[in-house]
Symmetry: C2
Subunit: 358 residues, 2 copies
DNA sequence: CTGTTAGCGCTTTCAA
DNA sequence: TTGAAAGCGCTAACAG
């Protein structure tokens, strides 16, 4: 049977569709008796207003788009929860999309979302200039950037001070006595990655240590651990999300770790790289922190349970998501917003860092 | 400036809106010249068809609803990726919702989705009978159940054989010599949880071991690790998602572990409980596997890196998501589908289980 | 090969 | 206190 419409309700209640609309939306006074009749008709037919039709006339959809790189990244998992939680209470629907840091895919998502007439957008952009995104901003859709910035996009950004976080980490390693500190990074185009590399460099320079470019190694973040059902380690790269020509942290790091001029410490700029790094260290028969110290971006609930417990840089990911969502809500409601100040990242010392030298 | 409509395009190209519609949708032959003119007008105005208006007439929205318990649960994270990946390639939008296993919240989500006129729904139901869900099924919306079943809902279910998985785990523990094997579980209403408990019981019975109900302990799954910025362990329970009256695994397990009749092994039926369990074990000053063996549901990329590496029951979560999505696509396309057979779960032996006795 | 027109289900003036 | 009717932007007969 077809879904009931406001017409059906009106007929059953013996009123006009205008009245039905008004009792549904409480948008003008209706006498208690008529209201009662309408309510009963609604219940009897189990009528639900068609949000599509409503949106078509009101031009508000109560849908927001959420574009992130990868929901598997624990940072985004938590942020997304923060976002979902505020939008559920506001009765907004959120449409989730993963770009895997692939600009083409980001563009696809954006195109899809644009046609869906979303009321707002939260995006962790890939870092490549995107005309579609710029056009959406131009056309007045409220946008907030999460975690990073997209070139030329003027929209508030909710995130942390990445440069400072990295700086803290490297300072700490230096204070422990390290001099050769490698930096494992993915794409420079992503502003967070870029900023973290800057922090690495600044700390080194301030300490009068050489900035050796060979110690900066780039890898594909799409490493999903080892094959679970095998007894030996086989790195998994999910086919759909692999960037051609870029090798995983797991592979690329092993080269450095086996070289004669091996670093004594490793700074990992991203969550997803950490896993690959840990497996690579293990694969090379190295011990952490005895042979190599490790400090990496993003804390997790399970980081203290690792062997060794991980020393990390922590960001308030759930909170960042909440903040971004609240900001977007304000923009949607036409309030003026101020650009939020970057949050501080915390260095959490656990056991994966030690003084160098065996 | 207002968004351009097909009317604007038609005017600029000097054709009718019907022609515009037809070149946009390639739905009837249009002479190359007119087509060219229309295409140019579209580009010039950067016109994007309004999906709302289209959906209103075609009655297809290219949106599907996705209702899970919690995106933070790694099982769902992976499954959601699987789902997203197939829908992105099919140009469908997915609307994500977390229920936190709270029936009321599930109902809210469903209501919101119903009004959005989704083309299909993938749901991991809370296990409490839901009239709204039943009504959606009744009205003909294609639904596939993921991981669990909802009471009275006739819809294909994509998942694993949980009873058998649990059975395997307990058999293994018994073969190691364990006789007092506790089972940490959350809500019985969730069919997976129920089935896993059944498996525990069957294995015990078959081995002629007593089925001690005191060894079954229930806890709230909403344990999000310890407070990261503190030096000592403070369990975090996210306020929005806490079920009143139910205590966390972290708290509840400590009571059992400190009792004189402490079990020698622990079977954890869920991902999210595992973290709490691990912290509880550590908090009680116990060593795993020396003092207590641990085996738990769901593998992760990082499980091998734990201290100790975790022995787990593994499900193909990404694959399950994919399968569910493909199944839903088929249903949306009107194909007849067969109820999928439950996948097998794999026991992956790592180091968190050992023979009992210190 | 292309245009006219009647809706899709709802909100919202305007009028009564 | 309520109803009639004009759209919102699009698709899909039906005409030509």
């Amino acid at each position: 049977m077809p879904k009931p419409t406001s017409m059906d309700v009106a007929r059953l209640a013996g009123v006009s569709i205008a009245t039905v609309s008004h009792v549904v939306n409480k948008t003008r006074f209706v006498s208690p008796e008529t209201e009662q009749k309408v309510l009963e008709a609604i219940k009897a037919l189990s009528y639900r207003p068609n949000a599509l039709a409503r949106s078509l006339v009101t031009n508000i959809t109560r849908k927001i788009g959420l574009v992130i790189s990868d929901i598997s990244n624990p940072f985004f998992t938590a942020a997304v929860r923060g976002i979902e939680d505020v939008f559920l209470t506001s009765h907004y629907n959120v449409i989730l999309n993963n770009t895997d840091e692939i600009p083409q895919r980001e563009d696809d998502c954006l195109r899809l979302l644009a046609s869906q007439q979303i009321d707002g957008l939260i995006i962790a952009p890939t870092g490549t200039r995107n005309e579609n995104l710029l056009a959406m901003a131009e056309s007045g859709i409220p946008i907030v950037q999460l975690d990073r910035r997209s070139p030329d996009l003027m929209a508030p950004m909710v995130g942390v001070n990445n440069e400072d976080g990295a700086y803290q980490a490297i300072r700490y390693l230096i204070s422990l006595g390290h001099e050769r500190i490698a930096c494992l990074i993915h794409y420079d185009a992503i502003t967070t990655q870029h900023d973290r590399l800057q922090g690495w460099e600044r700390a080194l320079q301030e300490a009068g240590l050489p900035v050796d470019r060979e110690l900066v190694i780039r890898a594909d973040p799409h490493f999903y651990g080892i094959q679970s059902d095998a007894q030996h380690s086989v790195p998994i790269v999910r086919p759909t999300s692999h960037r051609p020509g870029m090798r995983s942290a797991y592979e690329v790091l092993q080269v450095l770790l086996r070289s004669p001029r091996r670093p004594s410490a490793l700074f990992v700029t991203s969550n997803q790289l950490t896993l690959g790094a840990l497996y690579a260290i293990r694969e090379c028969g190295l011990a952490c922190p005895e042979d190599i110290s490790l400090i990496s971006f993003d804390d997790h609930d399970w980081a203290p349970l690792f062997s060794p417990p991980l020393t990390v840089l922590s960001q308030p990911s759930y909170r960042l998501g909440q903040t971004a969502a609240q900001l977007l809500m304000k923009m949607i409601n036409g309030e003026t917003v101020v650009d939020p100040i970057p949050q501080r990242v915390d260095l959490i010392k656990r056991a994966s860092c030690a003084a160098p030298g065996r």
